[in-house]
Structures are given as C-alpha cells and as structure tokens.
C-alpha cells in the first residue's frame, strides 16, 4: 500500500503554475489604515458621498470588533496596519477605452494565466472582468451584453453610472457590521464586479471575473454584487490566482447575490490562490463572506466551489431562502495539502414556505492539512415543508492530515424534513485493489476514485471550469473511464 500511497501524494501535490510576478509601474498606498486612507480611497475612485459615509461607518464598527477565533484554523495574528489597502497599475489620464489601450504587459499576464481578454479567442462564450490588485483592468463583451440589457462592469464604474442601483442593494445582504472581515471589506473594498440582469432576461453568455493579486504587501478586498431581477437567469464564474511569496497576503472579499421572483443565479468559483509552499510558508489568507438572498418566490441560487488554493480558507457561501418555493444549492470540493487549512461550508436559512436546499460537500485532505466542513441548516417557524439534504464526505490521504465535520441543524417547524449524512474514510484498499485487478495502474485507479468522489460537484460546474477543476486536482481521467 505504501507505494501507491506515495503515488497518491504525487498526484495531489503539483507545482503552482500561476506563481509568477508581473513587473508593472504601480500606484500603491503606503501601508496603514485609518479614516484618511479610506477618504483618499473613496476620492481616487471618485465615489458618491453616500459611499464614503458607508465606508466610514463600516470602519468605525470594524475597530470595535475582534477577529473571529471559532473556526478550526490556526491563524497567525494579522497586522492590519502593515498592509497597503490600494495598489493599481499606473494608467493614462482617461483610462483605457478599449482593449487596445490596455497595457500589453497586463494582457500578457492574463494570456499566461489562460484567461483571454481578446474577444476573438476560443472562450468566446464568456465575458470576463479582469481585476488586477485593486482595480478592474478590462471587461470584455460589454457591447454585446448591453444589447441584452445586462449591466456587467466593475463596481467602481457602476458607482459612477448606476449609483441608485448600487445604493439600493449594496450591503442589503451582507450588512457592513455583519462580521469582522465583511466590515473590513466594506470599509476598504476597491473593486469587483457588478451585475444586473433585468426582468425576464436570460444572460446570453457566461459572466466571469478573474481576480489576480500581483503587488506585494497588499491585500485584495473585492466586492461583488449580482442582482437577478424577476424571471432572469445568469451564470457567473470566478477565478483567482496570486504570485508565490514568502509572506502571507490577505484577501477579504464580500459577494452579495440578490434573486427576485422566478430568477436564478448560478455562481461558480475555482479558487486557486497561492497555497504556500510545502513547509507552509507564504500563501494567501482567504476570508470571504458570500451570501445570497432569494427574495422572490420560486427563486434559485446555486453555489459551486472548487477550493484548492490559499493557505487559509474561511468561507461559507450561504443562502437565505426568504421567498416561498425558493431553492438553495451548495456544491463544494475543498482540497487541502501540505500545511493548508480550510474551514468552509454553508448556511441554509429556510424562512419561506416549501423552500428546499441541497448541500454536497467533498473534502480531500492530504499532507499535514486540516480540512473542515462547517454548516448550518436552520428552519424557521414559518418555513412549512422545508426540505434539506446534506451530504459531506471527506477523504484522507496520509496519516498527518485531519478532516472535520461540524454541522449545525436547528429546526422549529414540524413539517420540515432534514437529512444530514457525513462519512470520513481513506481511499479504500478494496476499491484500489478492484481497479488494479481490472488492469488499471494504481495511478489511474486513484485518479478514477478521486474523480468519482468529486463528480457530483464537478458536474455542476460550467464546462470550461470543470476542465480546469479536474486539472487542478492533478488528475487525468485519460484511459480510465470512457
């Protein structure tokens, strides 16, 4: 068994290919955070007054808060004053009007990452908003989306052009005082994506945002706000990478989704921040608050996430099922290796009648990593016929890692039906033996078993991402399944 155990480890550990640094001239704030920094930030972004007030309110509240310590994570204390809160590539006076004017260095960076900002490229069906450190550098297919009535732009631009929409919805799902990291984000967020799908529109293409941390000593604080108006539909993808550095960098994002009557949002993430090296040095601290509110009846939110990067992941994409008959889904694969730590899961809050939710969580823990599922299913008094099905499985590879499951179930409604199942095991020797006995190499067998383990989640991903996700797990299906 030991030889195949080694193979498993080889399979799971692979080099981080996105770890290069792009040399650019940048505008960067000196490290430190106070009200002046926030005012300066707001001024650079030329924000309406209400934003500055919102930011300051959040900041003042944040100062009274303490960093949460309930997660199964071992976090070195973070010095928030040693981080720079703004870093952006230097740009010409007016900023680029079209892709031709974007710094070719930047375009190269994205090309290297496999994210084509060129509209003629192969992934023609995906519109991309590229966020580089603190600013959005380019958004593709703006014209085509505009024809459909879809607004897809950096949130800083939305604040200029659609301030009323932003004001109406920003912070309405994740209030500025929600938690420590959300408050920090509300105070200092720099960019992110804004999406508005009007009534009855089915977004003609996949929308995607690609986040890149490049500068050293900075944190990335992005904010995403997606509103799906009545009867609309959108599929949104999110990807992220960062250079390899010895120090830890902070990423604290907030994502808010608002779903009205009969609308649907499908939100997929492939998180591949730099995880640190095999000795646990460096890596991104990823503290993300993601929440969706199904406000309308018959609305639906589906979160899919593949978490392979980050030294520390603290992330609980949640669904508040307010509207009757609304549906929440959460599909997750979390892979931790070496010294990575992940504490991730979801919250399903059933408030409306006939609401249903599904949670499928797959954790794979290797090396000396700790992988935790933490979830809450809450059924309120009025949520008649609420239905939840939860399955969380963990796979352990190696005897130094840990896998933990902390589900919370709170039910106040007798007609609710809640099921929760969790299993933890290693790759069974019987399964391995069976596959090998049928002529597969140990490597193919492991690949097949791990892929099978994650299949339920991968099938929820859009095609392009599913391919990336499988590649990320370092496992190829070639020659093992037809």
């Amino acid at each position: 068994m030991s030889s195949s155990a080694e193979e498993i480890e080889q399979l799971i550990s692979q080099e981080y290919k996105q770890g290069f640094v792009t040399e650019l001239e940048v505008d960067t704030f000196p490290p430190g955070l106070d009200e002046d920094v926030i005012a300066k930030l707001s001024k650079i972004k030329n924000e309406p007054d209400f934003m500055l007030e919102y930011r300051l309110k959040a900041f003042r509240h944040w100062q009274t808060m303490k960093s949460p310590d309930w997660a199964q994570l071992n976090i070195e204390p973070i010095d928030y004053q040693s981080i720079s809160y703004y870093s952006a590539p230097k740009r010409k006076e007016d900023g680029p009007q079209s892709l031709d004017e974007v710094d070719p260095e930047l375009l190269d960076t994205y090309k290297k990452l496999g994210i084509p900002l060129d509209e003629q490229e192969r992934l023609a069906g995906v519109a991309v908003d590229a966020v580089f450190d603190s600013v959005s550098v380019a958004t593709t297919f703006k014209g085509k989306l505009k024809d459909a009535g879809v607004i897809f732009c950096p949130i800083s631009e939305a604040l200029q052009e659609h301030p009323e929409l932003v004001k109406q919805y920003l912070g309405s799902v994740v209030p500025e005082a929600d938690n420590f990291f959300a408050a920090l984000n509300a105070a200092v967020f720099t960019d992110g994506s804004f999406v508005y799908i009007p009534k009855g529109v089915r977004c003609p293409m996949e929308l995607s945002t690609y986040f890149r941390i490049n500068a050293a000593n900075t944190g990335q604080f992005e904010r995403t706000l997606i509103i799906a108006d009545e009867g609309s539909h959108v599929s949104y993808l999110e990807g992220c990478t960062a250079p390899m550095r010895d120090e830890n960098q902070l990423h604290a994002a907030v994502v808010e989704l608002i779903v009205l009557d009969n609308a649907e949002i499908k939100y997929s993430t492939v998180q591949n921040w730099y995880p640190g090296d095999e000795n646990g040095v460096g890596g991104i601290y990823n503290f993300v608050t993601k929440r969706a509110e199904c406000r309308g009846s018959n609305s639906k939110v589906s979160w899919t996430q593949v978490e392979t990067g980050s030294a520390i992941t603290w992330k609980y994409p949640s669904c508040v099922l307010l509207g009757d008959d609304s549906v929440g889904e959460f599909y997750s694969v979390a892979l931790t290796n070496n010294y990575q730590q992940a504490d991730t899961g979801t919250k399903m809050i059933h408030i409306g009648k006939n609401t249903s939710s599904t949670i499928i969580s797959k954790g794979i823990s290797a090396g000396k990593a700790q992988n935790t599922y933490r979830g809450l299913v809450k059924v309120g008094k009025r949520a008649e016929n609420a239905r939840n099905y939860t399955q969380c499985d963990s796979l352990l590879v190696g005897d130094k890692c840990g896998a933990h499951t902390f589900p919370y179930v709170e039910v106040k409604q007798p007609s609710a039906q809640i099921e929760h199942e969790a299993t933890t095991s290693k790759i069974s020797e019987d399964q391995l033996f069976f596959c090998q006995q049928r002529g597969l190499s140990a490597e193919d067998a492991v690949s097949m078993i791990v892929n099978g383990f994650c299949k339920e989640v991968f099938k929820e991903l859009p095609m392009e991402f599913a391919v990336e996700a499988q590649a990320l797990l370092g496992i190829s299906l070639e020659g093992s399944v037809g």
Binding site: D399, G402, P407, V409, E410, Q413, P414, T423
Partner: protein, 436 residues
C-alpha cells in the same frame, strides 16, 4: 452570580464528607475556585449554545445534610424500585441504607456510600476521584466536585460477574434542594456488571447535579442504564465520564423523560480495541428542555463506537443533541458511527442538533447522520388502509419510533417501567400496552 453560591459554600462546606482528608480538601478548594472563576456556563460557550442555565444561577439551591429518612415519599420510592435487582436509595443526595436492598451481593463486590468509602478506604477513593473528568472542563463538574455530599463507590473485583444489576435510586423529597452526588464505578479486569441509575423527585423546583466516574478495566464489560424521571419542575444535570481500558466494552442507555431542564453529558475515552455503545431517547413535552451532550474520544487504535440518539418533541419542548467524535492522530483503524433521529410533533417544538467529527488519522471509517422530520406518510396511509383512524395510526408510529430504544433493554423490570413511562408521556390513544 456565582457568588450567590459562594457564600452558601462557605457556610456548608464544613459539613461535607471527607473534610478531614487533606488531599480532598485541596481538590474541593481547587474545584470551587474553578467554579467561582468561571461561573455557570453561558450561551456563548460552544458546548452550551442551545441551553440556558440562567434560571439555576438566579435561584439558590441549598444542600440539606440532615434529611430525615422518614420524609421520603414512600409511594414514589415504591413506584420506582425495580424488581430483581440490588437497590441502593439515595435520599436528597445522601445514601440511605435503610431503604436499600443488597441482600445476596457477593463479597467480591464492594458497594459503599461515598461517605463510608472516604472513611474506610480513602486511599482507594483518592486513586479514582476526579481522574476521569477534569473540573476545568465543565462548570457543573467543578460545582459537583466542590460540593458533593455523598454518592456510591462501587468496586467490582477482577473476574467477577454480577448476575443482577445494581439500581441506584436517587430521590429528592424537598423543594429548593441541591442534590449533588458523586459516584465512582470501578470494574476490574475481566469483570462484568450492570448498573441502573434512576432519578426521581417531587413536583417542586430542585436541582440535581450528579457526576459518575466510571473505570472499565481490561476486557471488562459494563452496562449503564439511566432513567431520568425527575419532577416536572426540576433541573437536572447528569455527567457520566468513562475511562475504558483495552478491549473493554461500555454500553450506555440514556432515557431522559423528566425535569424542566435536563442536561446529560456522556464522555468516554476509548483504549486499544475497546468498544462503546451510546444509546439515548429523549422525550420532551410542555416546556421541557433536554440537552444531550456526548463525546467519544478515540485516543487509541482499533476501537469502535456506535451511537444512536432519538428525540421526540411535543408542545413547546426543545431538544438538543450535541455529539462529538474525536479520532486522535494514532487512532488508526477506528470505526465510528453516530446517528441522531428526531421527530417534531408540534409547531412550537424545536430541535437543535450538532453532530461533529474531528478526525486526525487517515485509516478510519467514520460516519454520522442526522434526520429531523415527521412520520412517514406512506406508513400512516398503510395503517389507515388497515382501518385505523389517522390519529391512532400516528400514535402507533410515534410510539414505535421511540420504542426502538426501549426494546434494547433486556432487564425485564426496567423494560416494563420504561414502557409505562413512554405510554404516560405520549398521545396514547390507540396504543395498548398489552400489544407490546
């Protein structure tokens, strides 16, 4: 608020047993300091997030060391005394040999009151007291260590098998009373025993804070039953802390019926190739609050644990299940299963459940499952198609759901008693005992 009790402690501590023993004095003083520093648990503590004990804190329950035995509610006593078992009665936290029945108990099994044990075999008590549980872990344990007034010291010597179970019948006869008992059960190598803990009391407000420490020796087998039928207004805290040696087997059956607020803590530390089974049934009616907290610590390899807790909540009752399985780094080949099934019968009932797996070893098989739901409509329909009205059909199915746990009990007199309790607490229309 803990000061409320501090003053009382100063007043009564001299009357506590074993105060002439220096080591015990130290243990008690440390425990009391631990309790005064921490106070009663608050909702902010993870282990207590669903259970509010503020009511206990506000009131002042006081121990009574000189309770006349003839005050006992004889009827209550007779009602709960089981047939075919050895019985020891504890009145208001003190052993009353007068009402006990140990006739025919083998000499190789010593059953002493804690007061006598501290007097006759203090070195043996010292060896075991506060070894299975740490005061720091739990305010109520610290409270109990500081304040225990009596309890049992049961020692089953190696290779001995007790044919009949020993019943420990705890009874409280007075309002506002604090009954703190501390018992120690030691089952030596290859021995086998079963013990039934029964808690009953008057229909008044009182507090039971009982802690039992259990040591199961190599290859030994112990079955522990707990039937908690406290008075409807009572507060009950019961902690059972088990240390298992190699290849030992421990089985616990936990029936939680009574009390306004009841909290059960069952913790077990498993050794190499040992086994434990934790079964539980909690029934809540009216405004009852029942909290079950179990922790299975797989510290060594090749051990096995199984757990099944079922809850039925009616009216405004609230049930809590918190189960934790920890598999240590070296505990390879662990096999663990945990299940919690809950039935909500009314719109105002609530259940909060939190099964946790914490796993640091890789060659393990661990699973847990939780369901919260209602009766299967198909089963209801089936019974209706067999000419039962809907209400009866539902009653029968609810009863059957709970009866699965009672059916596991092989001690006949206890089984009988549990069935009666079950029928009393359920909508029983259509369910007849003679069918069972």
């Amino acid at each position: 608020m803990a000061n409320n009790y501090s003053a009382e402690y100063e007043k009564t501590s001299d009357a506590l047993p074993g105060q002439s023993l220096d080591w015990l004095k130290v243990i008690r003083a440390d425990a009391f300091k631990c309790f005064s520093d921490k106070g009663f648990p608050s909702l902010r503590e993870e282990e207590w997030r669903y259970t509010n004990v503020a009511a206990i804190e506000k009131k002042l329950f006081t121990p009574q060391f000189n309770v006349e035995v003839n005050e006992i509610d004889k009827e209550l006593l007779q009602n709960y005394q089981l047939d075919g078992v050895f019985t020891i009665v504890l009145v208001n936290g003190r052993v009353s040999l007068e009402h006990s029945n140990l006739e025919g108990l083998s000499d190789n099994i010593s059953v002493l009151s804690m007061v006598d044990a501290l007097d006759q075999k203090p070195e043996l008590v010292e060896k075991y007291l506060a070894q299975a549980v740490n005061d720091k872990e739990h305010s109520f344990v610290a409270f109990n260590t500081a304040w225990f007034s009596d309890g049992l010291f049961i020692h089953v010597q190696a290779n001995q098998v007790i044919e009949k179970p020993i019943q420990l019948l705890h009874i409280v006869t007075q309002a506002d009373l604090l009954a703190t008992t501390r018992s120690i059960v030691v089952v030596d190598e290859m021995a086998e025993a079963s013990i039934i803990e029964t808690y009953v009391g008057v229909e008044n407000v009182y507090l039971t804070a009982a802690v039992t420490e259990v040591f199961v020796g190599k290859n030994a087998v112990l079955t522990l039953y707990k039937m908690q039928s406290e008075g409807d207004k009572a507060y009950h805290f019961g902690g059972i802390y088990v240390k298992q040696d190699k290849e030992s087997r421990f089985t616990h059956h936990n029936f939680s019926f009574g009390g306004l607020l009841a909290r059960n803590d069952i913790h077990t530390d498993l050794n190499v190739a040992s086994e434990c089974d934790l079964n539980g049934l909690f029934l809540g009616v009216k405004r009852q609050h029942i909290d079950n907290h179990t922790r299975i610590n797989h510290a060594q390899p090749h051990a096995m644990s199984r757990e099944l807790y079922k809850g039925v909540l009616n009216q405004r009752a609230r049930g809590v299940f918190q189960g934790r399985v920890i598999v240590a780094e070296d505990a390879q080949q662990t096999n663990s299963e945990m299940n919690n099934r809950n039935l909500l019968l009314s719109n105002d009932a609530e259940v909060d459940t939190k099964p946790q797996l914490e796993i640091y070893a890789d060659d393990v098989k661990c699973a847990h499952g939780v369901t919260v739901g209602q009766l299967d409509e198909k089963s209801v329909f089936y019974l209706q198609s067999r000419c039962l009205d809907e209400k009866t059909a539902r009653n029968i199915l609810t009863f059957a759901f709970a009866n699965e746990m009672v059916d596991k009990i092989k001690v006949e007199s206890l089984h009988e008693k549990l069935l009666l309790q079950l029928l009393q607490r359920f909508p029983q229309e259509g369910v007849e005992k003679s069918w069972l």
